[in-house]
Symmetry: C2
Subunit: 198 residues, 2 copies
């Protein structure tokens, strides 16, 4: 609908996930008409990001060095590994400041529909990390959905034979949430996982 | 939260309108992890778009040449000018294929709250276009909201003295909409603008 480069900009913005045609148009006009916005900064980052960013050789987290800042940090508890699906889950957990161990990023979850089996995930690399006796506990922190649960079940079977504590993050009512609006599965899990008070 | 360039990418994406921190993170990981996506194409467009795109000297529409493709088209009806707020309104109207005249893009609407008065809009340029007698009708197609109505009222006062037909797009019920869900003002306008049937 637009002439040349304006349409190119709208098309390229529309390729980004979650950016529909209307948003792409709105962003394009913002870029064109906002004097104070400098589009070359985003352009520069887009040009360099793929070359600069690699994935940590140990845990698979994003990093600008061969190993990530968490794996390099000697103060982290080397006996604990928290297994997550994606690098963004690492950031979410780090924000809680509750966990001082190491991570292992699988790069997804088992999903037959999407053609993702155990071999597409970084499970072999996890096994390699467990070959010496440093690690005592594996905390499985995959998502509490069908794919995440399947992955957790697969991992716990794989790890059963080893001398390890294997744990899973608790499921239950979200803090600050409303019992009335909880779905049946979550409410059921909250009952299953109920704890003694006092 | 992320190391270096990944955080830079998230920050820059987050500067775009309508892209919150979560979306910025999701887009950043998509860019990093999707082999088939080439981020250099967006980078190139972002680098060149500001230099290539100018605004039509006549109507203010976006263009890669001094005048836009609509103003250059001799088949368009030179006696009709449709006045809109933004260049994207031109595209919306072109999509209807109902209008074969010319446009005039104001570059916004009168909004005392945002400090936009008539002098910040391309109203003077519109008056210049009306200096010869080619134009017979001005269709005011500003948005049907407070700012758009104020701008329409201002324009119609300005144009009153001239030998011109000045019209305003009809307000009423959206086609395909539900009467029950129409707001009072829209429903009131639909009554005001009612037409004889048959």
């Amino acid at each position: 609908m637009y002439e040349g480069v304006v349409q190119d900009l709208i098309d390229e913005l529309g390729r980004l996930p979650g950016v529909g045609p209307k948003s792409a148009q709105r962003i394009a006009f913002y870029i064109l008409q906002t004097e104070s916005y400098d589009p070359t900064r985003l352009a520069e980052v887009l040009t360099t990001v793929r070359d600069k960013v690699r994935f940590c050789e140990i845990c698979g987290n994003v990093s600008e060095q061969p190993t990530c800042s968490i794996c390099r940090d000697p103060r982290r508890d080397q006996s604990l590994i928290c297994v997550v699906e994606e690098a963004k889950d690492v950031v979410a957990i780090e924000r809680t400041r509750e966990f001082r161990g190491l991570y292992h990023v699988l790069g997804g979850a088992i999903s037959p529909i999407q053609g993702i089996g155990p071999d597409q995930l970084r499970i072999r690399q996890l096994m390699t990390r467990l070959s010496d006796a440093t690690v005592r506990e594996i905390i499985i922190a995959t998502n509490p959905n069908v794919e995440g649960e399947a992955t957790a079940a697969y991992l716990s079977r794989m790890l059963q034979a080893m001398e390890l504590r294997v744990t899973r993050l608790a499921s239950g009512l979200p803090v600050g949430g409303d019992l009335e609006y909880a779905d049946e599965v979550t409410l059921g899990r909250a009952f299953e996982g109920r704890r003694l008070v006092g």
